[in-house]
Amino acid sequence: MASTAVGRGVAVLFGIAALMAAGEVLADVKIGAVLSVTGPASFLGDPEKKTLEMYAADMNAKGGVSGQPIKLVIYDDGSDPNQARTFAIRLVEEDRVDALLAGSTTATTMPIIALAEENQIPLINFAGAVQAVFPVKKWNFKTPHTDLMACEKIFEDLKKRSLTKVALISGADAFGKSMRDQCMTITAKYGIEVLHEETYQPRDSDMTAQLTNIKGKAGVQAVINPGFGQGPAIVTRNYRQLGITVPLYHGHGIGTKQFIELATPAAAEGVRLPAAALLVADKLPPDDPQRQVVVEYTQTYERKTGQPVSTFGGHMYDGFMILIEAMQRVKSFDKAKVRDEIEKTRGFIGTGGVVNMSPTDHLGLDLTAFRMLEIKNGDWTLVQ
């Protein structure tokens, strides 16, 4: 009995030794990720991590990148920028990764950008704010739409409906503040006049006081709510509670089906928001260039995780594919060559839109990446 146990132990040891030896010969491509899998931003990091693991395993099953298997090193920063920096340093110095897919929030991303720049490692990040990609840094790329684009899309729609006098009610969190500031920079460009501004704390449970002031302001033709989390859902409920009739616009941060549930379909009726095509995968016209990609990603994600798809996991899909395709094109894992090749990405169709990178644009998305949606009968509909 004892001897067989020892025998098994020895066999296992040999097995491990053989695996280690094999690993050394193969020289896999190492991709490092620092994501906010837990903590307040876990709704970003969690689908990102699942997507990355899912597609890396898939790629390895198909033979890896240029014949080399992908080895992932994923750290969870707990939504803490200090942790994110520490883990990014570890990825660079100890794990010696070939590329970084890192940073779920703007706060966790900013230190990683500086680090990638210093160590000359290609980085694709998943932060929302515009400063995570402008001004352009040599080694840094980004896949999610910026809040500036969301504002532009909303203002475009307002102009089409000849609504120019608006009120803002924004969340006092980083996302809400950043989007509000971006909106304010382009009001003149679109001829939009902001008549009144209110804010709310991210965890507030009642916004009727702020909305009463907006309701009382004469001449307001539309209300914009830059924010994410449950705040916009409560704003929407209170909006209907007070019987405000002018159109309500939300930012792109509420892009989940759950929002309609939380806000209740009755209150959410007629609410508009800019969102990625992923959210309305099944409603895209058959000739839409993104249709195939978003439908496939949605099906794969929902089948493997059993959870509804979110735009955030889609950003990881885009980043991972852009990186892998660049590596495959240059047939090398050389950091400088891969970086140059990422910059040459043209016509890549991702879940976020059609990506055309250039030396002056490391995001590569234009306004067509956003669709204007309206909530009707408890579901998204595309605004033509």
């Binding site: 804010t199 709310y200 704390q201 009642d206 006081a209 989390g229 449950q230 209740t264």
Partner: protein, 290 residues
């Protein structure tokens, strides 16, 4: 006038929520001098457990009842596994233990359920009632009445039952209570169970308004604690008064001054009150015995 009424309703809605959470703090504090920072997690368990059970097909009233039972079980476990073994430690140590328990419960809920926001259907529909041109949700009225009923029951328990009197005796002087034959450890256990039930009931009542998630307890507990301090911690009537006052301060601050500074306005006024009345509005002044 309509505006004033609307701010008033907004304040009462938020205030009733804070009051309901604040009441939960009073019982454990008065029986053991411990401020239970896991009180917010009882609120979370009430809302989340009801949501999960309702989503699994259990009818809402039964789901609510089961959620309260779950919260009481968690409260008893918390007492048995964390508070009771450290019963000879100082109140500060016990408070730190409750902070640890709160982090643990939050983490477990996040992993075991999920990290999304959830809601429950309002008990009397979502159509607002119009009073003088201002709109109030029926659920806000339910929360307000719920807080009142809980305080009434708590008062009856304290003044009319033997266990309640034992709790009061333990609160007044633990050593003396033990000397007259009161099992003080049992009293503290009971107060944990009742506080958990109060928290869970509160969580169920407020979820249709504030929504719930695994970490909803943190902020509610903070605001509830502030309300309890303002009203005089340990006094259920004070908790209600403190909660309503805090809610009204926030709503009128947001409405008439600035929504960006509403929390600052509210907390500055709380500080001012506590400078003048360190025991809170309804607190009893304690006398150090030598």
């Amino acid at each position: 006038m309509t505006e004033f009424l609307q701010f008033l309703f907004s304040g009462l809605t938020v205030g009733a929520i804070y009051a309901l959470v604040a009441v939960g703090f009073t019982l454990i504090y008065s029986s053991s001098d411990v401020i239970n920072f896991a009180q917010g997690e009882f609120v979370m368990i009430g809302g989340m457990a009801t949501y999960v059970l309702a989503a699994a097909g259990v009818p809402l009233p039964i789901a609510s009842l089961l959620a309260v039972v779950i919260a009481v079980a968690v409260g008893l476990l918390l007492h048995r596994l964390a508070i009771e073994p450290a019963r000879d430690a100082s109140a500060v140590t016990l408070i730190i233990i409750t902070i640890g328990a709160s982090i643990l419960l939050r983490g477990v809920a996040g992993v075991a359920i999920d990290k999304n926001f959830h809601s429950l259907p309002p008990f009397l529909g979502a159509e607002p009632w119009l009073v003088g041109g201002a709109a109030i949700l029926p659920q806000s009225v339910i929360v307000l009445f719920g807080a009142g009923i809980i305080v009434l029951l708590l008062w009856l328990f304290m003044s009319r039952t033997l266990y309640g009197k034992a709790t009061l005796a333990t609160a007044a002087n633990r050593m003396a209570a033990r000397l007259v034959g009161i099992d003080t450890s049992r009293v503290v256990m009971l107060s944990f169970a009742i506080s958990a039930a109060i928290g869970a009931v509160g969580g169920i009542l407020v979820t249709p308004i504030v929504l719930t998630s695994y970490d909803v307890g943190t902020l509610l507990a903070l605001k509830g604690f502030a309300a309890a301090m303002l009203g005089g911690i340990g006094n259920p009537v004070g908790a209600i008064a403190g909660g309503l006052l805090l809610g009204l301060l926030e709503a009128f601050g947001a409405g008439y001054v600035s929504s960006s500074y509403k929390d600052a306005i509210a907390f500055m006024l709380i500080l001012a009150v506590l400078f003048a009345l360190p025991q809170g509005l309804f607190g009893r002044s304690t006398i150090e015995r030598v």
